[in-house]
Each structure stands twice: as structure tokens, then as C-alpha cells.
Symmetry: C2
Subunit: 140 residues, 2 copies
DNA sequence: AACAAATTTGTAATGATTACAATTAATTTA
DNA sequence: TAAATTAATTGTAATCATTACAAATTTGTT
């Protein structure tokens, strides 16, 4: 996804595509690693040495409000962000803290439609241990 | 659920049933309101004026480790606790911040079993607006 | 009672996020 | 194009949930 496309996408969501905003979105869409704020910051600060963390927080909240990214609250003390807003689940490994995508077959999961609630977001989270960390544990 | 039963339940989970611990669990099991730490504290401090917030945090973490309660990470800046550890979903209203239980019919939801992951917990979260808040909004 | 172990407390530290005012950049108007 | 206005970005301080840690208290055991 090149800068032209990113600019278009931001505009389509009512976001003026400043340089900072485009770089922040580019990070999310190319890495697809469900980063927390600091992971984005440590990477972008090398390209944009003046980048402020406040700008990062402001921009991510702007993206959230415009529906461009989704918020992942699977971790206990920090937020994670996902540029993929399609319906899929997430697994967080308690050992390595990595967050994996969980994709469902179309009929695998049918969420009930809730009367008495106007639902904006649906999230499916799992926690446990990933295969890499399970194997590491076997070596003890 | 009386104190005798609570003491038994804690013992069954390998937790020595001190007075504080029993009162904390009693709060959770009688209110069933998915409280954050401060909600528990503000209620119990009236009965136990010496109660320390550290004790509360320690006790809740002990309950979590022993599988007596479950952690709900649906909110963005604080944790919520649930004495009901059976499989059910949660809905948080963005307006009033209340957390509702969402119960599924047996076959309503079938979570796929993930190979490559040892799953300890599964959570289903919804966010949106509850009926009470929707009605309030209509009055404008 | 004397000792040891477990529990509870109070205070300070940590760390993610937000508040806010100042600065800089971009856009509009004259 | 220069001045004026608006928007974006920055830096610092504040907020607040949670944890760290050592002291004090309670409980259980010899
Ligand atoms: Mn994802
Ligand atoms: Mn519940
Ligand atoms: Zn892992
Ligand atoms: Zn509500």
C-alpha cells in the first residue's frame, strides 16, 4: 500500500492526510502486528525525530473515531491497535505477549444479535500460550 | 450465599478464607455488577474502615490466579471483575459504562478450537449503547 | 508466652494516557 | 504575496490505575 493509496483512504474517512498521519497509518497497515503505542513510537521516531507521543495518541484516537482502525483491549495495562477492521478474533500469548489474528470460517462463529442493545463493536479474545512458547517450555 | 459457603468455596480453591477475603468475594458474588476496584473499595470501606486498596488488589489477583473470578478487559483504562466464571459474553455501554452479561443459547456460539495455541480463556465482548441510554437519547 | 508464618497496611514508584498551553505548519483572505 | 485564520504538532505537567516494598498486625505453632 503506497502513500497515494493511504492518502485516499484517510480522505475517504474524513481525515486530512498529513505526513505524520500517513506514516502512522503506514506503520499499522504494513506491520499488522497489533502494536501498542510505544511500538509505533520507537519505530517512527527514527524517521521522524521530532515526533511527539501526544501526536501519536491524538492520531490513533482520531483513527478510532473515524473507524479507520480498531482498538484491542486484550492486554491488561495498555491498548493495542489494528488497521484491519474486518471481523476476526485475537489470541494473546501470556508468555511472549504477542497478539495473533484468529480467522474463522464463515459459519464457524455466529454471534447472536442482541435485542435491547445497539451494538457498535464485537470482539472475540483468547488468552493462553502460543506454540513457539510451548516448545520453549519443553526444553526445560 | 452465606459466609459458611463462601469459606468452603475459597478453601476449595486453595485460598485461606480470611475475613477480608470473604467480604471481598461476598461483594462480587452478591452484586454481580462487574465492578472495577474502586466500586468494591467504596462499598467495603464502610464496613471495614481499615481496608487497604493494596489488600484489595492483592486479593483480586489471588482470586484470579486461583481461577475463582475472571478478569474482564472490556474497558479501556481499568479492569473489571466477575465472580461468574462460566462461559458468557459481556456488553459495555459507552454512555453509562455499565457492563451487562450476555447469555448464549447452547448452540448459539461455537468457538473454534485453535490448533497451535493452548487456550486458557475465551472472551466475547460487545460495545455500544444500552436500551436505557438509547431511550434517554430520544428525549432530546 | 515466644516464635514463625501469613496477612494487611501505608506510602512511594511506575507507566499508560490525557490535559493544556505554546509553537509550528497549512490554508484562507485581503 | 503578506497578513490573518485555522489546523496540526509539540513539550510538559497532570491524572489515575496498578504495583513494589517494607513495616505493622494478625494468626498459628511450639
Ligand atoms: Mn487483528
Ligand atoms: Mn459476567
Ligand atoms: Zn508466546
Ligand atoms: Zn447505557
Amino acid at each position: 500500500m503506497d502513500m497515494k493509496e493511504i492518502a485516499m483512504l484517510l480522505k475517504d474517512h474524513g481525515i486530512k492526510p498529513s505526513h505524520h498521519r500517513m506514516k502512522i497509518y503506514e506503520y499499522l497497515v504494513t506491520h499488522r502486528n497489533h502494536p501498542n503505542v510505544d511500538m509505533v513510537y520507537q519505530e517512527l521516531i527514527q524517521e521522524i525525530p521530532t515526533l511527539s507521543k501526544t501526536t501519536l495518541y491524538n492520531t490513533l484516537n482520531l483513527f478510532l473515531n473515524k473507524g479507520l482502525v480498531q482498538l484491542i483491549t486484550i492486554a491488561e495495562n495498555e491498548m493495542h491497535y489494528d488497521a484491519d477492521v474486518s471481523m476476526h478474533g485475537h489470541f494473546m500469548c501470556k508468555e511472549c505477549k504477542k497478539i495473533y489474528d484468529i480467522w474463522f470460517e464463515d459459519n464457524d462463529i455466529v454471534l447472536p444479535d442482541l435485542k435491547d442493545f445497539a451494538v457498535d463493536e464485537s470482539h472475540i479474545y483468547f488468552r493462553g500460550t502460543c506454540l513457539a512458547c510451548l516448545n520453549k517450555q519443553l526444553q526445560d
